[in-house]
């Protein structure tokens, strides 16, 4: 290898050329011959019985080809939107899993619930015609919040769940926790809300259904993080089309953050409609439509208590969480507040006993599912805030109490009391690095200086952990997953020695075309321009589970390594034949197969050519060709962890918070491309800052979405955000071949508690113990005024 492009090099991205010159191909950039446009009529009401739907006038409108409603869905015997994860009640009975129709049947259950699909020659005609549909609603009392849903006598969304409870689940040893609380020296308590968010990937969702009537093949182009999963869910459960007749393509996708994992009704609707009208059908969401149709994130209400002994050692943690599922169960929603949340409640701490209860409820809101971090930001926010409160309760320093309770480096592998086993980590190491990088020890000087300027300065810390690299299929299966979670790679060595990798993961900003190529350059010793990474097309890729839960490198990268091992092994056999040596004597290094201890060798290209032109070849014992596929099922989750420190200044007159510095030190395992890892952490931290200071998805008491457009929902902008100082500290993952852990979500998981901790620290002179997110200027100002009032009283 001439250039340094292997593991550990900040290689510039291969994909950037097309994006920088406007030649990316996102779904809405694709146009199929004869294409029609779909518009979806959605409910303006959060909760109503759906009486008559009259489409007669719409069907007559200019350019209209078809209008479909529940009637047509029934007639074609289509299924509802499936849920991919089952969670159980405490007594082991299954969760309530009400039907989730593609087009509303007897009821609408949230603003945005789809009612009719209008297909016309142009987008504008479809939209205009939808206004001609007359719908007769019988308005019902809406249940917009968690607290509304659990009130006795609250209106029920689904007959299957008369109390609006989807499940009431628990984990951990309750009696051990109760007895520890009995012995506690002190108990720290905290009530908090994890605010509801709208993911808002910059590319709105879009889908094109295409039908080839010559052979009955369907193609769906969709903004997805996991095209094979969509093919499976849509083909098997909704449209009843065999995989062999259904191709799903997810081309360039403009960000996902979880919101493009799920199977959405619009994908199935356009595919089905294309088959009916025998022409391609395109649907592209308006941004305001995204707000009422993309799955939202977070939305928890929690009470937590930590029991401590007289030295500030944690004895036990007790957590009660109410989680909002929204109106229906989105694809993976039930797993988010359970297996992706409560299993992380031990954090970085050796707390011997943890017990968590999670009640999930239905409300008249958009479904809630995974959003960057999915469950783990909720866990780290709760735990890290509670640890701060515990420090205060004990009169201890926030750093000391963390150090005192960290799992020691010697304890790995460490079995937590909440099901998971951490393989490796060095929480002391990341903490020390972050303290140093943030100049923690001289903070009080800076605070004094700020005070002279009339500003309140605060510093906050979070020592988070997360679990990603999802997931060992058997473990996930035992916990309720209805799919495997391995990954697949096909390494195709072409006759002239170039390599195409077909991966089941999907890149929507993560830079796989570069990082994965680095793995190949490193292992096979060939130049970057000889390597092509192909993803996002079920017609090309053998199979795959897609990209989410920071799994692409840990699981997808490991599958590539496994397939490359097979290539090298076969190459050695071919080389042994050509070089007339024993296979055991062949070494492969820097792109060359050589006989150990001699100067006899064959290049990778020569071996490739021989495999495809097998004239001098051991045909009796070896197949021609050099093309290998591997499925990799991870042995465990991976456990990135780290320390985030945030320093803020608050203007007490306006309540405005400015982030002065943000320091992130993350252990994401081995780093393949440091430039990309840094970018992932910066982006994740930006979303964490968004959650902590700016973003909130708000429904009013009538179930209307108040923050329903980019003018109403506060997206982080360049002038709201600081520069983010990122570094890494590596402990290797012990169970995957690359030693990697994953970096996509650490930013949004680690940062919110550090930011809120900093604000609370700044306001400590007012006796403030906690402030809810987002800590907007208004909320901070009101908190200060309320505290002043109390002091005066």
């Amino acid at each position: 290898m001439a250039e340094n492009v292997g593991i550990g090099a900040s290689v510039l991205r291969k994909e950037d050329f097309r994006f920088l010159t406007g030649r990316g191909t996102y779904v809405d950039d694709i146009n199929r011959p004869g294409q029609l446009y779909a518009h979806i009529l959605r409910s303006p009401h959060p909760h109503a019985n759906l009486k008559k739907i009259d489409t007669a006038r719409a069907k007559q409108a200019p350019g209209v080809i078809a209008v479909y409603t529940r009637h047509d869905v029934n007639e074609d015997k289509l299924g509802g939107m499936p849920c991919g994860w089952g969670v159980k009640f405490k007594d082991d009975t299954p969760m309530k899993e009400p039907a989730h129709p593609m087009l509303a049947t007897e009821k609408v259950r949230h603003v945005g619930d789809p009612i009719a699909l209008v297909i016309a020659e142009t987008r504008a005609q479809a939209k205009d015609a939808a206004e001609q549909i007359a719908v007769d609603y019988e308005i019902l009392k809406p249940v917009p919040t968690i607290n509304d849903a659990i009130k006795p006598g609250a209106a029920a969304l689904h007959t299957e769940a008369p109390d609006n409870v989807c499940y009431d689940w628990h984990i951990g040893d309750k009696s051990a926790v109760d007895s520890a609380f009995g012995r506690a020296h002190k108990v720290a308590k905290l009530d908090l809300v994890n605010n509801r968010l709208v993911p808002n990937a910059m590319e709105p969702r879009a889908a094109i259904g295409d039908f080839d009537s010559a052979n009955g093949d369907y193609t769906l182009y969709t903004t997805s993080q996991n095209p094979h999963v969509i093919r499976l869910l849509m083909g098997a459960f909704v449209l009843h089309i065999p995989e062999s007749k259904l191709r799903v393509v997810a081309p360039d996708v403009g960000g996902g953050f979880g919101s493009k994992i799920f199977h959405y009704a619009e994908e199935a609707l356009v595919t089905w409609a294309a088959g009916k009208v025998k022409r391609p059908v395109k649907w592209t969401a308006d941004r305001s439509e995204s707000f009422i149709s993309d799955a939202h994130g977070r939305d928890h209400v929690t009470h937590a208590e930590m029991a401590m002994d007289k030295d500030g050692k944690f004895l036990a943690l007790r957590v009660q969480t109410l989680a909002n599922m929204g109106a229906y169960l989105s694809s993976f929603a039930p797993a988010v507040p359970t297996y992706l949340y409560a299993t992380l409640l031990a954090g970085c701490y050796a707390t011997p006993a943890v017990y968590a209860e999670v009640k999930a409820v239905f409300t008249n809101t958009v479904p809630v599912d995974a959003y960057r971090g999915a469950g783990r930001p909720e866990a780290s926010f709760l735990l890290e805030r509670l640890v701060d409160v515990a420090a205060k309760e004990m009169g201890m320093d926030r750093v000391d109490i963390r150090r005192r309770n960290f799992i020691p480096n010697s304890a790995f592998p460490y079995q937590t009391p909440v099901a998971v086993q951490y393989d490796s980590g060095d929480y002391f190491g990341t903490l020390d690095m972050a303290l140093k990088a943030s100049n923690w020890s001289s903070f009080r000087d800076r605070q004094q200086e700020a005070k002279k300027r009339g500003k309140l300065r605060g510093i906050g810390i979070s020592t988070y952990i997360e679990a990603c690299g999802v997931a060992p299929s058997n473990v996930a299966g035992a916990l309720g997953a209805r799919a495997g979670l391995y990954e697949v790679a096909n390494v195709r060595v072409n006759p002239t020695g170039s390599v195409t990798i077909f991966t089941g993961t999907h890149s929507h900003g993560q830079g796989h075309e570069t990082t994965f190529a680095q793995l190949v350059a490193d292992r096979l010793g060939i130049a970057m321009d000889q390597i092509e990474i192909s993803h996002g097309d079920t017609g090309k890729i053998p199979f795959g589970m897609g990209t989410y839960g920071s799994r692409s490198l840990a699981v997808g990268g490991s599958a590539i390594v496994k397939a490359m091992d097979k290539i090298v092994n076969k190459g050695k056999k071919i080389a042994a034949h050509l070089l007339e040596a024993a296979e055991a004597d062949i070494e492969f290094k820097d792109g060359k197969f050589s006989v150990a201890g001699t100067d006899k060798s064959k290049t990778f290209g020569e071996i490739a050519l021989t495999a495809y032109v097998p004239h001098n070849y051991p045909l009796d014992v070896l197949e021609p060709g050099l093309d290998e596929t591997a499925f990799y099922d991870p042995k465990n989750f991976t456990f990135p962890a780290g320390c985030h420190i945030c320093e803020v200044e608050i203007d007490p007159d306006t309540g405005n918070t400015t982030i002065i510095t943000f320091t992130a030190v993350d252990d994401v395992g081995r780093v393949i491309n440091p430039m990309i890892v840094e970018g992932q952490v910066q982006g994740g931290v930006a979303q964490g800052i968004g959650q902590a200071l700016l973003e909130s998805c708000i429904y009013d008491g009538n179930g209307q979405l108040l923050s329903g457009s980019m003018s109403d929902y506060t997206m982080p902008r360049a002038d709201n955000l600081p520069n983010v100082d990122v570094s890494t500290h590596v402990t290797l993952c012990t169970h995957n071949p690359l030693g990697v852990k994953g970096c996509g979500e650490v930013g949004s998981i680690g940062s919110p508690p550090a930011i809120i901790g900093a604000i609370v620290d700044a306001l400590s002179e007012y006796g403030v113990k906690h402030i809810e997110m987002p800590a907007t200027p208004q909320r901070v100002w009101q908190t200060i005024q309320a505290a002043k009032g109390k002091k005066a009283a």
Binding site: G22, A201, M202, G683, V685, A718, L721
Partner: protein
Amino acid sequence: MPQVSLTVNGKKASAEVESRTLLVQLLREKLGLTGTHVGCDTSQCGACVVHVNGKSIKSCTILAVQCEGAEVLTIEGVAKPDGTLHPMQNAFRENHGLQCGFCTPGMVMSALDLVKNNPAPKDREIREWLEGNLCRCTGYHNIVKSIEAGAAAMRK
């Protein structure tokens, strides 16, 4: 239907449009220039920024018919015809100023207009200028670095 004629990336173009057709729809749907993106419906995101008569403008917020006779520059017209990236595009690549790439065309077009008026913009000035350009992936840190570096390269 009204007809509009304009110059896009140095080439004459004309198309029939509805009176309500937006410039971005003309570019994407009639002229096949899909590098200009649509990220919102409330003029907030800036994914659609192009230059009209030398000034950056949100192409979702202007009617196609208002651009009669205008000179329009889109992201497709920024690199040299032989494919060599403009120094600003190159700076975005070298500083990892893009991830999913969806906001990128708007960011680059916006940055070019900034540098026209302020050849050496500082961190804070860049951040304030980008008030109308949203990015959900990068956290802006590397976009700001890219624009600083791009401006410096353009001064050479």
